[in-house]
């Protein structure tokens, strides 16, 4: 036995010690290989080691000082080094020249070979699909994996709203592959009897309906639309529905609300205009970037824009109806989603009802993002919800499998209203305009890597302490949103880590919420929602 073992080592010595290769071939192989691996860091070295991703002795010293006891200090340094390492790795995987060189070839790869990327899979006739959508449909039962957290959270949310005199309608929105699978695979060429769903979906609907929650299952309606019209219910190269589908869903919702016998009194006149708009689908952007590519060109859509009586684009306002939604609500409404404005779900519903409508919408994370924003808004602007009678909660069905279904405690807004609440109690007098401050970061969210999710822009949430202002106030804990990703490019703020001290220009969040509130946000890990009542700012990173 041992001889055989040694024989194996001897074979290795014999076989590997000598190689039949000519000197010139060896030179070419080794030379080109070394040039390949050495030139890249040589070219991009400044990008890789640029602050704040590099290692700094001062920062290490600070992380030592921060820890309690020897073990705490060791853990602090360990965390610091691991974070920095991850930062450099992330920097390299997005900024090196091979990435920018090969990235534009991605759509051609996908189109010509049928290759799928991590998040996009090509369908038939140049349709594109989002893989997490498919994973939700074919994956494990979502009620199994989360131990029914989904239903419990929805029931709890409904109960909290009811206690405040507000009704809840829930509208899980089917994903593209659920409604138009024939565009993905020939297996569905003969059509489908009903929308494709995750195994748990029907049980989920039954549970909610048996508990008295009003759920609008729009899937069957969308199937009819997909069958009867061209191109169908969803955009070809985007994860979202077509404008016609949005209008149809708004009509369904309006009809449903009529039948529900809600006592709504506020009215407002709206009118419409029809325009053509050309936009690049979000899945096409994942593959090709903002410029698009000839492989997956822009799509042309006819928008029904909703205008007020002054022919100004529709605006959300304090109203009896509040729509909570994700990017399905934002598309055709938020210009950054590439398909125009004033024609989204809130606008169309408002038009169908001829009533004003309030809206809290945020791209991505529909399971938690809008509930969190609602809780924050209730804490900080309770008067906004004084007339609210109905909340319509729209979220992508994908969230049922992958969303964050933590329960959130809504604040007692009427008590707060009586006491009066300042948005920024400690610094109210300072932040009438933008203010430059030094902030010590306590924690940050994590931005999804570029070209992985259908949202090219993202705000990064940071919890920190304002250490100094020009006016020399006391330190104040707060939450700050900064741009972490724009046009699928990571910004320096995305690499900020806890313990760092940065200079920021701060603006009250409420002043910019109208423009920025609907972008995808990388939120803080805050399972107990302890940060909801902190003052909130938008920050621009200065250094």
């Amino acid at each position: 036995m041992r001889e055989a073992y040694y024989e194996r080592e001897q074979v290795a010595q014999r076989d590997l010690a000598t190689t039949n290769i000519s000197p010139s071939a060896a030179w070419i192989l080794v030379g080109l290989f070394l040039i390949s691996i050495a030139v890249t860091p040589g070219v991009d070295v400044t990008k890789i080691w640029r602050h704040p991703a590099g290692f700094g002795a001062t920062e290490i010293k600070k992380s030592i000082q921060k820890g309690e006891g020897l073990w705490g200090q060791v853990l602090g340094v360990n965390q610091y080094l691991a974070d920095r390492g991850a930062g450099i790795e992330e920097q390299m995987s997005t900024q090196l020249w091979p990435v920018s060189f090969f990235q534009p070839m991605q759509p051609a790869f996908v189109r010509l070979t049928g290759l799928n990327t991590r998040s996009v899979i090509p369908g038939r006739d140049d349709w594109l699909f989002y893989i997490p959508d498919i994973d939700h449909l074919i994956g494990p039962e979502f009620l199994d994996s989360s131990e029914a957290a989904v239903t419990n959270v929805i029931l709890d949310f409904r109960q909290q709203l009811n206690q405040r005199g507000i009704e809840l309608f829930v509208m899980p929105t089917p994903v593209k592959a659920a409604i138009q699978p024939e565009r993905l695979s020939r297996r569905y060429s003969d059509g489908i009897a009903g929308p494709l769903t995750n195994r748990s979906f029907n049980h989920f609907l039954d549970t909610l309906e048996n508990s008295g929650v009003k759920v609008l299952d729009i899937g069957p309606h969308l199937i009819q639309k997909a069958r009867s019209e061209t191109p169908g219910a969803f955009l070809k190269t985007d994860t979202h529905w077509t404008q016609e589908t949005v209008i149809q869903v708004a009509q369904l919702l309006a009809q449903w609300m009529d039948e529900s016998g809600l006592d709504l009194s506020l009215q407002q006149k709206f009118q419409t205009e029809h325009i053509w708009h050309e936009g690049l689908g979000d899945l096409s952007v994942i593959l090709s970037g903002q410029m698009g590519s000839r492989w997956y060109p822009a799509e042309r859509v006819e928008l029904r824009r909703v205008l007020d009586t002054q022919r100004q684009p529709w605006q959300a306002s304090h109203a009896e109806i509040l729509l909570l939604g994700d990017s399905f609500t934002n598309i055709y409404s938020m210009p950054e989603l590439k398909f125009g404005d004033a024609a989204g779900l809130a606008e169309q519903l408002s038009y169908e009802l001829q009533r004003p409508l309030d809206r809290i919408a945020q791209n991505n994370n529909g399971a938690i993002a809008t509930r969190r924003d609602l809780a924050r808004a209730m804490a900080q602007q309770p008067e906004r919800f004084a007339q609210t009678k109905l909340v319509i909660w729209q979220f992508s069905a994908r969230e049922l499998s992958f969303g964050n279904w933590l329960p959130i405690q809504l604040p007692e807004m009427r008590v707060r209203e009586a006491n009066g609440v300042d948005n920024v109690p400690q610094l109210g007098h300072l932040f009438q305009t933008a203010e430059i401050v030094d902030v010590r970061i306590a924690s940050t969210g994590t931005i999804a890597a570029p070209h992985q999710v259908p949202y090219p822009d993202a705000l990064l949430a940071m919890e920190g302490t304002i250490e100094s202002t020009d006016a020399g106030t006391d330190p104040v804990r707060c939450v700050i949103y900064v741009w972490g990703k724009r046009d699928n490019q990571m910004l320096p703020a995305a690499r900020l880590r806890s313990g760092q001290r940065v200079k920021l220009r701060l603006i009250k969040w409420s002043d910019v919420e109208q423009q920025l509130g609907r972008f995808s946000r990388a939120e803080l890990d805050d399972p107990n929602f302890e940060l909801l009542e902190l003052p909130v700012f938008f920050g621009e990173l200065l250094e």
Partner: protein, 480 residues
Amino acid sequence: MVFSSYLFLFGFLPLALAIYYLTPRRAKQLTLALLSYIFYGWGNPLFCLLMLATTVVDYVAGRCLGEISPADSTVNSRLNKNRRRRLILLISIVCNLGSLGFFKYWNFGIESYNLLLGQLGLGNYAWESFFRVALPLGISFYTFQSLSYTIDVYRGNTKPLRSFIDFACYVAMFPQLVAGPIVRFRDVAEQLSNRTHTFEKFARGTAFFCVGLGKKVLLANPCGQIADAAYNASSVSAADAWVGMFAYSFQIYFDFSGYSDMAIGLGLMLGFIFAKNFDSPYQAKSITEFWQRWHISLSTWLRDYLYIPLGGNRLGYLRTNINLAIVMILGGIWHGAAWNFLIWGAIQGGWLIAERSLRGSVSLKVLPEWTRCGLTFLGVSLAFIFFRADNLQRAVEYIGSLFGLGVTEAQTGLVGSLIWQPFSITILVISAVIVWFCPQTWDWTKTLTFPKVIIALLLFWLSVAMLTVQDYNPFIYFIF
């Protein structure tokens, strides 16, 4: 740090090679040890302390064993010395297996205990609040490596090392640190102090590395996506289940043998020669032969340090089979702390025992070679279901799906849409051709002609290009 990452390819590797070759000869071990610690500690520096502790324990054990030589002693004193040597070996084994057991099997133990209590209706006594530990990368590999040193010194198969730096370099050597092959001390003892760095070796190493990277990125990753689609689905059709099963067999082979090729290549670049770890295992015509060709460094390790000490095949039919079962089950649980791996090991043991038992009565050799090869591949692939499935229940369901016993629903067809892409099918066909009809890297690189040089470089750049398109990049063996 993953070999197939930009960080390694364009950051660590060029820097490490530059520093290593600029270092004077006498300091090369120290340089390599330090570079290896940086490599290992990149994701979690704290784990370096654990590896260092293992290194110190085994180094000291080796030195002590070397000091207590039973030769030239009286009988009494020899008995006494043997007792002390056994004690030292025991300490080393307990420390190594203790840390491996704690870091790798603690969570599994707690979860199994809680599950058992739950089944018995004693859920209130479950240890839910007990702490959980994070698994340090490559602990299974470097523990076995380090342990083999002490055992070999104890057995007198090798002399203890004087230099701690040399030993630290041996344990931590980054090419094979986190996913093997398991390099035994006696294989590299000579090379640690006296190895040659030739241009020819470097060129061969480069070719090995490029081919290994290509295997990983161009074949294993796409096969992995096919396998994931099938295994992660709640229901899967029979045809898709078969494709998914074979895709996983290809994935794990190209993933692990690709990593081994890269490790051997990097070793050559640094002047080391490591033995072959894969020898076209899917060309094996029996399970016994498969295990002589698959992860050879592990199977020989288990043979020399477990199977033979248990008595091997010297103690009769029954005891041989028991030994085989023990070795394969422990080999299974070495891969991962879960019942799936244990069952996978048991199945492999079962195959081996069945083969040994049938050897005298029924000869499979009457079958054509390709049939035996196909049957072996089928047997191995079926067993891999337990290796890949998330849990035991899922593995059983998956096997049911293979034979049309699974529940298929309207959405089941979507699994096929992920699997039956032109690119995926092309990759599966290429994988099959390479597995059964192409020479292995070891032989392919023996003679490096100009066209082969161009192919190696093309594989490197194609892999880099592919990394920008697909970032599906985990090495399966990283978690073991």
